[in-house]
């Protein structure tokens, strides 16, 4: 492969600048945090010395110092989030109350449209099906597999194979599965694996991706295929982290594997389970590429993120697209409340 280093020079230079900026920003921040407090500390010490010399009451450590530290630690994140996500989220919410061209206020009209158009209602139900099934199926599968594969031979290989789809983009995965679901007329050779199986069992080839509601389940299968590996790896790690003495003690008490699973394993991996379910739920709410690549939202398979993109970018309906996005924000509220409860428990525990 001929390769012109000179032509690519600028890119490496830019990459170099990027890395330099990284070192400068992060290093600078840490340095600042190191130098400034020690300067304060010295001054505080000096005050202490002066105070003890004069016999005045000892000054206390200033309380807001902690807050100041926190601010510096959080500053880059907060700034970036404000520009990249908070601003856009507010803008989206405002746009959802405006018309297609974002010129006039229309009140709740876009929301009215959302809940009255049968096609959109279908989109909302589909999203609901997705967000219930994907975390449930992917997590259960990952958990069962993690338990099954624990301590067997070839564990590493078996786990790698399940995790492999994580490395594939959503688009790539959808292409792979579109290939599996492909249809050819019954007078021809099938090129899709699933239809080949159907045909060799004596059935008629089916249009898997065109038959609602089966097609939504088949698309969900793609997401499960990608995410089960994530669930499996996290949960498997959690299972391995259960202290051996607990497991041994339970075994000595003569518990069944079933009891072991529910009474020892499950309570111990609960935090990992929560991470998995929460992460999968949010990823599922935002799923976009799979539906887009596999069916383009046809045959009653569309989901909110896909419809939102169509409305806002393809149809020039900013208001309606934004209303769909706001509905996504609303759907995440239960997860947020659950997370708050968890945090409370953690703080108390």
């Amino acid at each position: 492969m001929e390769f012109d280093f000179i032509a690519e020079k600028d890119k490496f230079l830019m990459l170099g600048y990027g890395l330099l900026a990284f070192v400068a920003v992060v290093g600078g921040l840490l340095l600042l945090l190191d130098v400034v407090p020690s300067w304060f500390a010295r001054r505080h010490e000096a005050k202490l010395v002066a105070a003890s010399a004069s016999g005045a009451p000892l000054p206390r450590w200033p309380k807001q110092r902690e807050g100041l530290f926190a601010l510096f630690f959080l500053l880059p994140t907060l700034l970036l989030l404000a520009v990249g996500l908070v601003g856009p989220a507010i803008r989206t919410t405002l746009l959802s109350f405006m018309d297609a061209g974002s010129n006039d206020w229309v009140g709740l009209r876009n929301y009215g449209w959302m809940f009255s158009d049968p096609a959109i209602l279908r989109v909302l139900t589909n999203t609901l099906v997705w967000v219930i099934l994907v975390p449930l199926v992917a997590t259960s599968f990952g958990l069962v597999y993690a338990v099954l594969v624990d301590k067997v031979r070839f564990e590493a290989v078996a786990k790698s194979l399940i995790f492999l789809p994580m490395a594939i983009s959503f688009v790539g995965a959808s292409i792979i599965w579109k290939f599996v679901y492909a249809y050819r007329g019954d007078d021809q050779q099938q090129i899709g694996l699933l239809n080949q199986i159907v045909v060799s069992l004596g059935g008629e080839p089916k249009f898997f991706l065109q038959e609602s509601p089966l097609n939504t389940l088949l698309l969900i299968m793609i997401m499960v295929w990608i995410q089960a590996g994530f669930a499996m790896v996290v949960l498997s790690a959690a299972i391995k982290a259960i202290p051996a003495d607990i497991v041994e003690a339970a075994r000595l008490d003569g518990v069944t594997p079933w009891q072991m699973f529910w009474q020892i394993t499950m309570p111990n991996i609960r935090p990992a389970l929560i991470v998995v379910v929460v992460t999968l739920s949010i990823a599922t709410l935002k799923v976009f590429d799979i539906v887009r690549t596999a069916t383009n939202g046809n045959y009653d398979t569309s989901v909110i993120a896909n419809e939102m993109y169509n409305q806002a970018f393809r149809y020039g309906q900013n208001g309606q697209g934004s209303a769909l996005a706001v509905f996504l924000f609303v759907l995440v509220i239960p997860i947020v409340i659950y997370q708050i409860r968890n945090l409370r428990q953690q703080r108390e525990g």
């Binding site: 492969m1 032509a7 690519e8 890119k11 830019m14 890395l19 990284f22 921040l29 840490l30 945090l33 190191d34 807050g67 530290f69 926190a70 630690f73 880059p76 994140t77 970036l80 989030l81 990249g84 996500l85 908070v86 856009p88 597999y145 099954l148 594969v149 067997v152 078996a158 194979l161 399940i162 492999l164 594939i168 983009s169 688009v171 790539g172 292409i175 792979i176 290939f179 599996v180 694996l193 790896v233 498997s236 790690a237 959690a238 391995k240 982290a241 000595l252 003569g254 991996i269 990992a272 991470v275 949010i282 590429d289 993109y309 806002a312 697209g321 996005a325 759907l331 995440v332 945090l343």
Partner: protein, 319 residues
């Protein structure tokens, strides 16, 4: 399941005969588990494997017969890879896009790791008012669909920020490869909520007495962060790093908007989407293209997978 109770209970008894029996049974059990888990693993891999085989098959074969027929009637070619890698016409240099992908991905992984670990530490171990609410707010930001952030962020780059007619921040006015900076910025923004969520999970579960001891010794927060927290969460950082790498490497939408489509800045995904898309169902290009794009994440994943498992392990130590 209740019937299983006596058998396993017997296994726990320390008498010689039952121990042998249970050992046999245990070996049998683990053998079944091995077989079942390998069967599932193989099933899980079949779709990818099919695509892999297809990518070496000639175009007419891909379109008319299933990939499994390649076993009975093997016909293989490198033509598909030839087409995808060296392409046709002006923009055949895939290597150029490859470098773009690297130049986009590396900083886009480093920045969020650094910023998020700082933030996660502050949220977990620095006492200040409203930190839980701040954490919840950052967590909730995960839901903002990045599609809705594209236009405002693009505006931020191209026109700067103006408040009440006063230019607060200037436009970036970047050209060619300088546009990488926009992509880094965008990817960092979009990655932060998940990164903070994940890292907070790990950092907040580090043993509290460790921090207490350091505080008593008079260590400042930056010092604790550097000397105690960072070494402990390295595996977690690696875990998030892999995620972020996979995500950025596979991203199409962000690159399409913030990097433009020329060979100066567009990553591999943009190029492959073009190759595959311009002629409809060109399975032969799609299959080979998909594999070209999978190779790097696969290598990264396989070589870092050790860290990955350890990283997640570290988080659940305190269960």
């Amino acid at each position: 399941m209740t019937t299983a109770t006596p058998t396993v209970g017997a296994g726990a008894q320390a008498t010689g005969a039952t121990t042998t029996a249970s050992r046999v049974r245990k070996r049998l059990n683990s053998r079944t588990a091995t077989v079942v888990s390998i069967v599932i693993a193989v099933l899980w891999t079949v779709p990818t494997f099919g695509l892999f085989i297809s990518s070496f098959r000639p175009e007419d074969q891909i379109k008319t017969t299933g990939w499994w027929t390649a076993f009975t009637d093997p016909q293989f070619t490198l033509e598909n890879y030839q087409q995808v890698l060296f392409g046709s016409g002006s923009s055949g240099r895939l290597i150029s896009y490859f470098i773009n992908s690297l130049a986009i991905t590396i900083p886009s992984v480093l920045f969020p790791i650094a910023f998020a670990s700082l933030a996660a530490y502050a949220l977990a171990w620095i006492n200040f008012r409203g930190r839980d609410w701040l954490y919840i707010a950052i967590f909730a930001l995960q839901i903002v669909p990045l599609q809705m952030a594209l236009v405002p962020l693009l505006k931020f780059f191209s026109t700067g920020v103006t408040i009440a007619g006063v230019q607060v921040l200037p436009a970036w006015n970047l050209v060619d490869e300088q546009k990488f900076a926009q992509v880094w910025f965008a990817h960092t923004c979009f990655a932060l909520p998940f990164a903070v969520f994940l890292l907070h999970n790990f950092i907040s579960q580090l043993p509290g007495d460790l921090m207490e001891a350091a505080r008593v010794d008079g260590a400042s927060h930056p010092r604790i962060f550097r000397t105690i927290v960072l070494p402990l969460i390295t595996p977690a950082l690696a875990a998030f790093g892999i995620f972020q790498f996979l995500w950025v490497w596979n991203d199409l939408l962000v690159a399409l908007i913030f990097a433009d489509g020329g060979d100066e800045t567009a990553p591999l995904t943009v190029r492959l989407a073009e190759l595959a898309g311009s002629r409809g169902n060109e399975w032969q290009r799609l299959t080979a293209g998909a594999f070209v794009s999978i190779v790097v994440p696969l290598i990264v994943f396989l070589s870092l997978q050790r860290y990955f498992v350890r990283g997640l392990l570290a988080g659940s130590v305190k269960g």
